[in-house]
């Protein structure tokens, strides 16, 4: 692989990468959309159990807590979001580089440097004030760029809808957060609880902000599992640019051809 020399610059993810390449090779072989609607869900029975658990978690904990969090002044919530987002910039920089996106690497690195210094450790988004564009990416996308298949649909406990490829990505990305618990961590133990705490706060903030939409999918739909699966896959494929050729994908809906066709 031509990118191998670059990877040497990243001692930390390098080891995880070799594992992941092996794993993603498995995912490719399974990447067959088993149904006409472009959804590959061989673990549906298990996934539905996890979905029921996640829904209970949302109803009893996440939703009520997010409503309480919504009372916190928006300035404070934004500050927490900024901090959490800044910690994700090393992940964005590393993955942009692995995808061969040098501009993205530069921008993410610049954002991280600026917000960590003049943004007072990431509490303020100074980079956005100076119009440095923001983008997001992760190791799941890197795997997609490298040609790994999407794999089967998986609903993860707590994290929610995902795919085999994105689940591998989630694990790898854990190592690019500067404050998480890994061997290269130079911070003391107290700080290790900060990233999960701020990430949780960001999730709560989104849960509150998009409350109407999420409630409508989870609690008003006739089959909330199928709806969240469909919406997640459509949106994720859109993000990864895998629906660009709309003429060939199963979502290229032309009802005028035959509205009754499945």
């Amino acid at each position: 692989m031509s990118r191998t020399p670059k990877m040497k610059a990243f001692a930390r993810p390098a080891m995880a990468l070799s594992t992941v390449l092996a794993l993603s090779a498995c995912a490719t072989t399974q990447d067959v959309a088993t149904r006409s609607d472009g959804i590959n869900d061989p673990y549906e029975t298990q996934n539905r159990k996890v979905h029921a658990f996640n829904k209970g978690l949302d109803r009893n904990l996440v939703r009520p807590v997010s409503q309480a969090y919504g009372v916190v002044p928006v300035e404070i919530r934004n500050t927490v979001n900024n901090f959490s987002e800044n910690l994700s910039m090393p992940r964005v920089a590393v993955n942009s580089l692995l995808q061969g996106d040098l501009r993205g690497t530069g921008l993410a690195t610049l954002r991280f440097a600026m917000n960590t210094t003049i943004g007072l450790g990431g509490l303020f988004d100074a980079a956005s004030e100076l119009n440095i564009p923001e983008h997001d990416t992760d190791f799941g996308e890197t795997l997609a760029v490298w040609g790994a298949g999407e794999g089967a649909y998986i609903e993860l406990p707590v994290f929610g809808p995902s795919t085999q490829r994105d689940t591998v990505g989630l694990v790898v990305d854990f190592f690019t957060n500067p404050l998480t618990n890994n061997t290269n961590n130079k911070f003391d133990d107290d700080l290790q609880s900060v990233p999960p705490a701020t990430a949780t706060a960001s999730v709560l903030n989104d849960r509150e902000k998009f409350s109407d939409t999420i409630d409508s999918v989870l609690y008003e739909s006739a089959d909330s599992y199928a709806q969240s699966r469909s919406i997640h896959l459509q949106n994720r494929r859109f993000e990864l640019g895998q629906d660009r050729a709309r003429d060939t994908d199963p979502f290229a809906t032309d009802p005028y051809e035959d509205p009754y066709a499945q």
């Binding site: 609607d37 902000k209 109407d212 939409t213 409508s216 008003e220 739909s221 006739a222 089959d223 199928a226 709806q227 469909s230 919406i231 459509q234 949106n235 494929r237 859109f238 993000e239 629906d243 709309r246 003429d247 979502f251 809906t253 032309d254 009802p255 005028y256 051809e257 509205p259 009754y260 066709a261 499945q262």
Partner: protein, 199 residues
Amino acid sequence: MPSNLTRRDVFLSSAAAALLAATPAAALTESGARQLVDQVVADIDRVISSGQSDAAILREFERLFVRYADVNIMAQYALGADGRSASSSQKRAFNDAFTSYIARKYGKQFRDFIGGRVEVQSARAIKAGYEINTLAYLRGDGPFEVTFHVSDRSGSRKFFNIYIEGVNLLLTERSEIGAMLDRRGGDLNAMIADLKSAG
């Protein structure tokens, strides 16, 4: 009389033809499709900022949906294969229930659009007509990509599908309607009754 045709006559008749082209009855053009999206956005904006009650706003949305969307084909597609065996009165009842369901379900979130704006970005031809790509800027949020599919196959210029950040409204609603039918063991009348209070 042909022999009496002057340059001025030719000019006038071509001007008349150009005028006709701008009306919905003529073949759909890219600018016509863009125009439709602009009208939809402007009308939604007008309704939202009218300061009416929530119920009145939802009623207005339903009227706009009927005016600008090809409700017939959307309902047919959402019902899918189950529509084949439906009687014409069932189809009509489903059409009506589906129309208000869509207006309710998507209209309910109109508060998110207060103070926002939608900008048309680009257009391209698709099989049934044109795809119009827009960016929706909501207050305090990064822009969302919203795509309209516009066609004149119904006889007039209407949109027949919307994609929000890649999520296809027709496809999503087809799976929802399918699940509602499954819940009722395939009983179309029971599902239509459910649909009237859903969303």
